[in-house]
Symmetry: C2
Subunit: 570 residues, 2 copies
Amino acid sequence: MRYSEMFLPTEREVPSDAEVISHQLMIRAGMIRKLTSGIYSYLPLGYRVIRKVEQIIREEMNRAGAEEVYLPMVQPRELWEESGRWTLYGKELLRFKDRHDRESCLGPTHEEVITDLVRHEIKTYRQLPRILYQIQTKFRDEIRPRFGVMRCREFSMKDAYSFDAGEDGVDISYRKMFDAYNRIFTRCGLKFRPVEADTGSIGGSFSHEFMVIADSGEDSIVFCSACDYAANLEKAEVSVPEKGDHQEDVFLPFEEIITPNVKRIEELCSFLHVTPEDIIKTLIYEADDIPVAVLVRGDDEVNEIKVKNYLGCNSLTMATEDMIYDVTGAPRGFAGAVGIKAKIIADYSLMNRTNFVMGANKKDYHIKNVNVGRDFDVNAFADLRIARNTDLCIRCRGALKFARGIEVGHVFKLGEKYSRAMNATYLDQNGKEQFMVMGCYGIGIGRTVAASIEQNHDGNGIIWPLPIAPYHVMITPVNVKDESVRRASESLYFDLSEKNIEVILDERDERAGVKFMDADLVGIPLRVTIGSKKLSRETVEVKIRKSGEVIDVSLEGIVNFITRFIREDV
Amino acid sequence: MRYSEMFLPTEREVPSDAEVISHQLMIRAGMIRKLTSGIYSYLPLGYRVIRKVEQIIREEMNRAGAEEVYLPMVQPRELWEESGRWTLYGKELLRFKDRHDRESCLGPTHEEVITDLVRHEIKTYRQLPRILYQIQTKFRDEIRPRFGVMRCREFSMKDAYSFDAGEDGVDISYRKMFDAYNRIFTRCGLKFRPVEADTGSIGGSFSHEFMVIADSGEDSIVFCSACDYAANLEKAEVSVPEKGDHQEDVFLPFEEIITPNVKRIEELCSFLHVTPEDIIKTLIYEADDIPVAVLVRGDDEVNEIKVKNYLGCNSLTMATEDMIYDVTGAPRGFAGAVGIKAKIIADYSLMNRTNFVMGANKKDYHIKNVNVGRDFDVNAFADLRIARNTDLCIRCRGALKFARGIEVGHVFKLGEKYSRAMNATYLDQNGKEQFMVMGCYGIGIGRTVAASIEQNHDGNGIIWPLPIAPYHVMITPVNVKDESVRRASESLYFDLSEKNIEVILDERDERAGVKFMDADLVGIPLRVTIGSKKLSRETVEVKIRKSGEVIDVSLEGIVNFITRFIREDV
């Protein structure tokens, strides 16, 4: 297109309400505009990128044998009652009444609708497996939308749902989607990693998040430096330490110490001249109304998801002041395992530790030289804490590494959760009624675009990976009033368009500097600068946005240069 | 695709709640399923057709210089307050509160959002004209949704908006969209007609509806048999009769007649031995609180839109019993022009009439031999009635014809309605602030698909026009257990797929009759039947769905036959 005919309002100023770089650059490059809190309009340039990502997704979904459907956004309460989520889903589910006072919601996801559709149409195992997907708008009434389209309220998502006869089936469907996701994000030109994620009550390792690696990512991911194990931080398992000999001979005498005004771990360390590793924190939780003491090292953090999964409880919250007093006899801040009236579970890292420090269950007191076995017993050792960079891989005992990531996709084995609740059954080969086994698979489309920018940008703007770049080439005539420059630019524009290369001709009568700034900001992979001086030598200049490389190319060879560049990259 | 791998649940039974044929066939052919009142899910086959129509629309919109955007569905109350529509729009506007108690609505259309976007980004005439479009979900809370996706609540629409500097500009944009719409519906393979539509208070002839011609259409359209004039029934103008000589010598004596129990025109005709043309109906309206008597012939119907436009009033309703009594001195049913206390406007068709019958403004009485000029005067003659098939074309006095149509598109010049209300201005060449002049242009996507079915079907099912057919070819092996049949079918399937021809291979182990019924129902343009008998003579049978023609084609020539057929039709 011709730049002057494009609705492409770029901005020099960094918008004051945009915290993250992708949000800033999407505004500045004229891709999006905010309508209201957490709700954005896509402008032509932004929507082109969205459509490119959608196209890649469609091709890979179809290739994986998934079929595209289009399900409604407005969904009736009755279906959500069936699944139980009308009450369970929080305020992110936007509920309303229509003109006939019927209650509905804006779909934040489509498990209910798709299960309803499939249960009416699929009756026998011969109609299975089935994978259906759609690219549709979702609405989640986030309490605090931020980061532009990264965490917004209305957004476009590709969601797929698989229906299988039996566990073996769902494993195949899951794998197909997993592989398709790998192809999708690879084709989008992203550096990413699928990581194991928590499956909550469903169990197994059947949930993966696809993380785009970026320093600005909200999520922490953990991966092994030796094997291909990777997980998000909350899921990352820690290998069990080898059990050492219980050296009772080194048990030192138990001591109670008055520790007035000592609150934080660091204060305790300096007061007692110990390291955080010598201290054991005792955290009291309320697990389905029952008090549980969780023990971790002073330098570790409890991973509540692991605790919850270990206990198999429905709800896990920090204990109230009252409960703490009941089980410890002291106010919050002085809990310890010795004499506590609660079930005690301890992280594996405590297994080989002796002579540690912990709270005394008595205001302003701690105890020293505490030892498991002598002073108290634990109900169980388990993996209860967040992994740290000194941990070893659960699979191969290789060193664990940490990185930041942005979740752009999620594959999840749902099992029979929805088919049971909504009675989605089929007749198996023996004529017996069975629940379908389901999986669900999502990709945030706007989020993928934003994550790509977080991963690919510099101080001047966006650096699009070629496959999702809104255009491939920007032609920048240095001075449009120079007739030969103008003519050469128009001619190149014509030639590239003829070859279906997506090209912008910046024929605005602006200073070259302004045009260069816009080209960098918008991030088009190739910029062809046409100036009178080089043109008189039949040469134009190509700048590769990604590497910054500048190459002189003959006028004669420029179309070939560009087609080759694009072919090699895509 | 292979039929057995498709999610394509066809049905033999006509669904009981589907009144119109397109609704029935879309259900039966496995294109859509109802989620709840007026809300439908698109299944894979249905969504393929939607995507084909979308693709044609996109190509033609882009070719016309429009740029694609994507605007939010959830819209804040504040914008709708600015345009005045928060209160003016009826209950079709679904309003709700979010978790922070902020009022929003589901967009039934996007004038407010696009005007808000453009007013912030466009500042000078140099940035104009601009045409932006999107393909987005709309929600209109119809009180009585029906006819499947034809009149539903949630639906996909292509809506475009043009912004111009001045009237000349908008005329060009309007023309571009008008031409694009003609190309779109032509490319979709539809018989259609753009007709003039009423513009309400904006005036001019700047509104056209694009009507797909179908007997089952909800709308009546009127067109000239001689020139290209066409309009919807409510807009269709009637040519002014040439004024005859006012023959006062033929005025017969005025008579008052008692007409007990005579209510309807037909009763009056037989009672008085006159024809409906001899009777003048006097209808009392309340136009912005003022009573107006509208006079039309007994066999004509008042066109309230014409009356409203003629009077230039904001509201026009039938008068209340009280008002009728005030102006006529009689109850409803006996109004006449003689002595009435109201402004009188008469349809043109009264201009040359003499000695007619009308109500006497007195219970159970009519008057005979009434004459304009002698017995009462009219304030004006005007075009106030619905056109009839004896009318002549307003342009060329050719004979008018009538047809039924389904509105699938609408182009509309909005003028400054929204730019004034929302202060969307630009600086003109003299640096003076001006309101942008807008147009809006819509296509109902699901409606276009449904209209196409209304126009193209037979007793066996859908007959897709090739450009929007979900697939081009259905291969039907008569007996999949016959190895040579199976092999020939697979081989043709492979060859056609290789050539990017969209093909279904019906490899189900079903009776040929079942497969033929499904093929006809689903409406694929070409069916290739492969049976052992003909195959032994190296021949297959092609059935053209549209014409019903059956042609034997050699196995060697079949791929060429099909590619040629598709190329010629698309």
